[in-house]
């Protein structure tokens, strides 16, 4: 199982501009698998990313926009991307600010399918 998760994360981290990726349990924000650069506090990031996703989930459903399929946080020096993955997981990607979001998103979707 771990190999399957790792292979999915590797697929995403091969995209140019991706600094790291992780699979997070959406409900409690715990890291399921990660492939992050050294020094990043994966647990803290996972918890915050899951919490952000949860807030947007509620806001999006209330505003009749439906379940969020893709979340993109843009910062001055990088981006955080997230998409729901099977079994109540969230695939979170940390990337450069100028990443090709369309490509990253495509690979994230494929990675999500691969861990199903």
């Amino acid at each position: 199982m771990t190999t399957k998760f790792q292979a999915a994360l590797d697929r995403v981290t091969r995209v140019r501009g991706v600094r790291g990726a992780m699979l997070v349990a959406s409900e409690d924000g715990l890291v399921v698998a990660e492939s992050l650069m050294e020094g990043v506090r994966g647990n803290a990031v996972a918890a915050l990313a899951a919490s952000l996703a949860k807030r947007f989930h509620r806001a999006s459903e209330t505003a009749a926009c439906g379940v969020p399929e893709f979340l993109h946080l843009q910062a001055s020096q990088g981006s955080l991307l997230a998409t729901p993955a099977p079994s109540g997981m969230l695939l979170v990607v940390v990337a450069e600010a100028d990443i090709n979001v369309g490509l990253a998103r495509l690979e994230m979707r494929k990675a999500g399918e691969a861990v199903a």
Binding site: L48, A63, A64, P68
Partner: protein, 265 residues
């Protein structure tokens, strides 16, 4: 005092732990003798604290006395003891209706009917609440008066919302596709997002966060912070491409920034 009440009183006097306290108290309630009904109910519940019927009965006495909140508490206890208690669901349907929560009222009445399909009073109550809910949906409540900060911008009053970091609406408006005003609710969900986004960006050494976009099944949300004291949310249906959403958001953020500055002058 009719014969039934006399017989039940005698039964309870002979055996204070008798379950006859339920019909006795109910009979007194129906006659409007609420003090006597309360006394009998509370005395009986001392012997049967986990009897759902007892809590349902006491709730009805409280409701008759005008204490709907207290009644709702008792019906909630009854449901905790017996999740399929028709009387408690019916009671909570009534309490929620009185409190203006039509969705919750409908839910409880439907559960009450499922538990007791023969009760015509539930059928009637359900019909009444459904009619009122349909009327409310056809004529949504007036939206509170909010500053027309985004006048002239696309979606000014239904797809552009300015909120403070505590989740309170500052300006603009947000409506679901049904026309229902969801501004306050969505604003509440966004409380704290700014700090979380800031913390996430800091932990990842991403610099200052600029915006967050959520692409949903039916629509997109775009959130930015035109100032440290406000968040701006744009909501659009899925036909609006995310790139265009970003342009609209930048335009609205500029308008919001000017308005916020004017407020602090």
């Amino acid at each position: 005092m009719n014969d039934d009440i006399r017989a039940l009183s005698a039964e309870v006097a002979r055996d204070p732990a008798s379950l006859a306290f339920v019909p006795l108290s109910e009979a007194l309630r129906v006659r409007g003798q609420l003090d006597a009904a309360t006394k009998v109910a509370l005395a009986g519940m001392e012997h049967h604290p986990n009897l759902a019927d007892g809590h349902d009965l006491y709730a009805r006495i409280l409701a008759d006395a005008g204490d709907v909140e207290g009644a709702a508490d008792e019906w909630s206890i009854a449901l905790a003891l017996d999740p399929r208690h028709a009387g408690a669901h019916k009671g909570l349907g009534f309490a929620n209706f009185r409190q203006g929560d039509l969705d919750a009222a409908l839910e409880h009445l439907e559960l009450a009917l499922a538990a007791d399909p023969t009760d015509q009073t539930i059928v009637q109550a359900l019909q009444t609440v459904r009619q009122i809910a349909q009327q409310a949906a056809a004529h949504p409540a007036e939206v509170p008066e909010r500053p027309a900060v985004f006048a002239g911008l696309e979606g000014a009053d239904h797809g552009l919302l300015l909120v403070d970091p505590q989740g309170r609406v500052l300006a603009g408006g947000l409506r679901a596709q049904s026309g229902h005003d969801v501004a306050e609710e969505v604003a509440a969900y966004l409380a704290g997002v700014s700090q979380e986004a800031e913390r996430t960006a800091r932990l990842l050494e991403l610099g200052e966060w600029r915006w967050i976009m959520a692409e949903g099944e039916r629509g997109h949300l775009h959130l930015s912070a035109p100032s440290t004291s406000a968040l701006l949310l744009l909501a659009r249906d899925k036909s609006v491409p995310s790139g265009r959403l970003a342009i609209l958001a930048a335009r609205a953020a500029e308008v919001a920034r000017r308005w916020l500055e004017a407020q602090t002058l």
